[in-house]
Symmetry: C2
């Protein structure tokens, strides 16, 4: 059973991702180290004791649709109620509407733990928090007063309605339309697919944020507006009124996250109300809907990254426990009686350590990204905003790929038992698979990284970041500690690979050779993630956690340097000279 | 829908794996090129038109247990009947008992296609063929006369009963026991788990081959005997007699291959018959059961490798079809109207080409292995037997890892649709995951490769093989063809990595540093597979298939050299200097 890794999370936040310096520098208001520990500890307890025990039934029963209503798995509505009453929905929300105004770092740490308990459960509340962010940033006073307090308390949940059958990665072609009404409201007509938690029985009302196009809107992404469409209209006194003309038509039969209802939502087909059309209110300005969404897009991407970290940690925990218990054969040097625990076999240890490295690397990258988000509210706002922008695609992609890879290794460690659903390793393998896809596929992240993030400040931001990584490697080399093995030298080599690939991409983009740069985008993104994994593990190994685990961190860091990150050379090579053969090989696909 | 890639299979058999030279050298009896084409074509037709259409219902319904009987998915019993009547069960079996005595190469080619149609269906007949092999090689005349004709015709199926709850990879600790009876039969008592097709409604009788231990047997693997235990006893005239005391207690709820019943089998608990004990007949000698199983172990491992190839090909076909149809965004340089098909995006093309390379590499390796099996029956038997031995673990592991990796990429190419079960990409991702586990996990394969296969003929076999690979690379370099890009040089470098890692392992084993060698076994196995992928693609690219696809093959070969096999350097490094950090990092797992 999943146990939230509170200590490792706290260490990573404080000593790797920058929480302690931020606290000491007074960048996080009244927040204290003690409060951080208290929040992490309680979030961990909730994830371990309340969420995790309901993961399996959620997977097995799944969300069920009958007569337009979605029945959630047994025990889940009560779990949600406990979660909301615990105040977890309001962690980062504005105190103006009942939120706690805490840093994003604490939010992602808590997110990791809830997703570790059950990804299918945690994704629902995550979307509400996203809807709160968009509404808080762009909603009218009236909308904010009417909806935010109840969404922040968790009394109502939110949903995000972007995708349509022909508009997924490319939202410019969406067809859902909105018509203006004289009273300032709008009427929406259309179909949205893949709407996570579009319908459920957790809350009485659901606040849908819906992208749609006005009749006179410009074509493409500049003609999309964002609307608030509640399931039930809200009367002036805040009580629920008539049912709005918006409902769930069907839910998907998915590979994983079965407990999460993935809905096809129908707006305005006349099923409810006096006249057809779902009643909506504009959020922000007309035709500026995508800009409103972008407010929360980065945070949503990071939130999906946390799912990768969470699944990876859960899979690693489960595999280690099994490998200690299961005996089979005799490992070299085994002196015990009978068969060895399989963890003694070098190959099994290699799998488990690789899982540890990928998990910890993904955690460090995502937390560093959250730290940048927090710091972007203070001095040096541009620097930190750029850092958050740069790290977001890497955090999303590296962590979600790690989720899949680690979950797959977790199945492998379990042998035949891993293929049996009751063991639970298979559920993680199934759940993990969506994370590299939604909130922008990892391929989209790579395009974003290369074409929009590398050029920030004319490339000087990424260059500055690489200089920071060089400093970590130099410190590792200078430490010359036997327990770090060849960490310093190997990290230097990996960073040099990153640097060369970065300069090549910047030059290639500057020369307008877009296709060539894009051909290497995914290898580059992976290269960046591996380098950051090595660097952040080294940063942790060079810090003193004061928890007696310094030797462990050094050993894992060395293993990463000598057994995991060595692909950087091949990845650099692919970035810098892979495009021609890729283009030439297109003939194979015809 | 899956379409058996008959042309690519024929090309690989003939021009890469060695079928044409073997035919021309007269090593395959009366077999002609025309007959090969006819068999491949008809096997392909059956896989495409008969098997593939029933894959989805097999996954959705699964095998269902009620009252000890397993009901197979709708349409599957008729499919099996058609398959057996088509003579597919008898391809490689001895003509003495009604078989066709065809080479193993044709068998694996057909296996690939049936598994491409439905892995859950194809695995059943595969196991029967394994049982036929063991019985033909080691059974008494009486057993062979009684069982082989009906097993070869497909009237009865077989099952292989090895695993017990505490005896999976390590069979030495199994507990199922056999007692001698005065009439020369035995009575078996025990429980077997994970028994594929242990019970079903395809055939009236099921011939279980069961490993068990005699009361006076030596401990460990040298005390295991093999028995034939039919579901129904067979009367002298060949008709079915009494029900034997062997039955299916339960079936597993699995991640994938739902149509394949995975049974817990109970032997001898008294449910059937006058006295407890399942009646069995010894196959081969007492206590030599594992040797009998080894006869077919290599072939079974290769058969699982074919599942990897099959899933990879099916996933690639599906992803390419989707990527051509689905439009989204505008790829760089896109001149068409509206959105581009996603195949135009470089990142999607990279995924698809990588899938192609891994599939084709896995196919070439597995077919080369089957070729060695065939050649081991002629002159130079030892050479070819060693080649088959060496290639088997690589074929099994590389192809099954490719199955998982390619199926995962296939889901990714589909975006959100990939996560929806109805699309079918998710089924392949689920089905694929068992293949790296069963018939010896890929970690076990790596141990076998390093500790038993490299030392064959004191290392001279593997050295000779590497020399053959050098010759291919030299030919690629000498061709100096622009369409091959840097193939020659990169292949040379990869082979040099393999050579260095091989020599290091041989030396390390010779010095008795077993643990150190085993720490690098999995990276070495992967390194070998990548090198073979590059070399076999080059061999194909340098051949003339006479089918107008030479340019395609050269382009894919170049893509492999420049974009896929570059990890060999990092893998070599991991083999040769990864063990120390692995051992040191064990502290992390405590």
């Amino acid at each position: 059973m999943y146990k939230a890794p509170v200590e490792e999370i706290a260490f990573t936040l404080k000593h790797v991702a920058g929480l302690t310096p931020a606290l000491e520098g007074g960048h996080l208001g009244d927040l204290t180290d003690d409060l951080v520990d208290a929040i992490l500890s309680e979030a961990g307890r909730f994830a371990t004791e309340e969420v995790a025990p309901l993961a399996e039934i959620g997977d097995r029963q799944g969300a069920r649709l009958a007569d337009g209503a979605v029945k959630m798995p047994d025990g889940w509505p009560a779990l949600y109620k406990a979660w909301a009453e615990g105040g977890w929905n309001s962690l980062t929300a504005s105190p103006d509407f009942g939120g706690q105004g805490l840093p994003h770092m604490l939010h992602v740490a808590a997110l990791e733990m809830w997703n570790g308990g059950s990804m299918a459960f945690a994704i629902g509340p995550t979307l509400t928090i996203g809807a709160v962010e968009a509404l808080a940033a762009h909603g009218s006073d009236h909308l904010r007063r009417t909806y935010l307090p109840k969404m922040i308390s968790g009394e109502w949940m939110g949903s995000m309605n972007l995708t349509e059958p022909h508009a997924g990665s490319d939202l410019g072609v969406m067809k859902t339309r909105a018509e203006r009404r004289a009273d300032g409201t709008y009427r929406l007509f259309g179909q949205k697919i893949f709407i996570t938690y579009g319908e459920h029985d957790f809350t009485d009302n659901i606040v849908h944020l819906v992208l749609a196009r006005l009749p006179d809107a410009p074509a493409g992404t500049r003609g999309i507006s964002l609307f608030l469409v509640p399931k039930f209209l809200v009367d002036e006194d805040g009580s629920l009124g008539a049912r709005n003309d918006a409902y769930c038509h069907s839910i998907e039969h998915k590979l994983g996250i079965h407990g999460s209802p993935t809905c096809t939502m129908i707006y305005g087909d006349g099923r409810f109300g006096d006249e057809p059309g779902a009643i909506g209110w504009l959020i922000g300005e007309e035709n500026r809907g995508l800009a409103c969404m972008f407010t929360m897009m980065n945070n949503a991407r990071l939130a999906v990254g946390m799912q990768g970290v969470a699944i990876a940690d859960a899979a690693t925990q489960k595999a280690i426990a099994y490998a200690k218990e299961r005996t089979q054969g005799k490992a070299p040097g085994w002196q015990g009686s009978g068969m060895s625990p399989i963890i003694e076999h070098p190959d099994v240890a290699r799998m488990l350590l690789t899982m540890k490295v990928l998990t910890q690397g993904a955690r460090a990258i995502t937390y560093a990204c959250a730290h940048a988000v927090d710091m972007a509210h203070g001095d040096e706002a541009q620097h930190w905003a750029e850092r958050a922008s740069l790290l977001t695609p890497i955090a999303k992609s590296f962590a979600t790929d790690a989720g899949v890879d680690v979950a797959s290794l977790g199945v492998q460690v379990h042998g035949g038992m891993g293929f049996i659903e009751e063991t639970g390793a298979a559920r993680l393998y199934r759940d993990a698979r969506i994370a590299p896809i939604y909130e922008g596929t990892n391929g989209i992240q790579a395009i974003d990284l290369v074409t929009r993030k590398l050029p920030l400040s004319d490339g000087s931001h990424v260059r500055g970041f690489i200089a920071e990584l060089h400093a970590i490697a130099a410190k590792a080399s200078a430490a010359n500690a036997p327990q770090l093995g060849e960490t310093g030298a190997r990290l230097e080599a990996a960073i040099a690979d990153l640097e060369a690939a970065t300069e090549w991409l910047l030059a290639t983009l500057a020369e307008g050779r877009q296709a060539e740069a894009l051909a290497g985008a995914t290898p580059y993104q992976r290269l960046f993630g591996l380098v950051l994994t090595g660097a952040y593990l080294a940063k942790g190994a060079l810090a003193d956690g004061g928890d007696g685990r310094n030797a462990e961190r050094a050993a894992l860091c060395r293993f990463a340097a000598e057994n995991v990150i060595g692909e950087t050379a091949a990845l650099k090579d692919r970035v810098m000279s892979g495009a021609a053969s890729l283009e030439a090989a297109r003939v194979v696909l015809e």
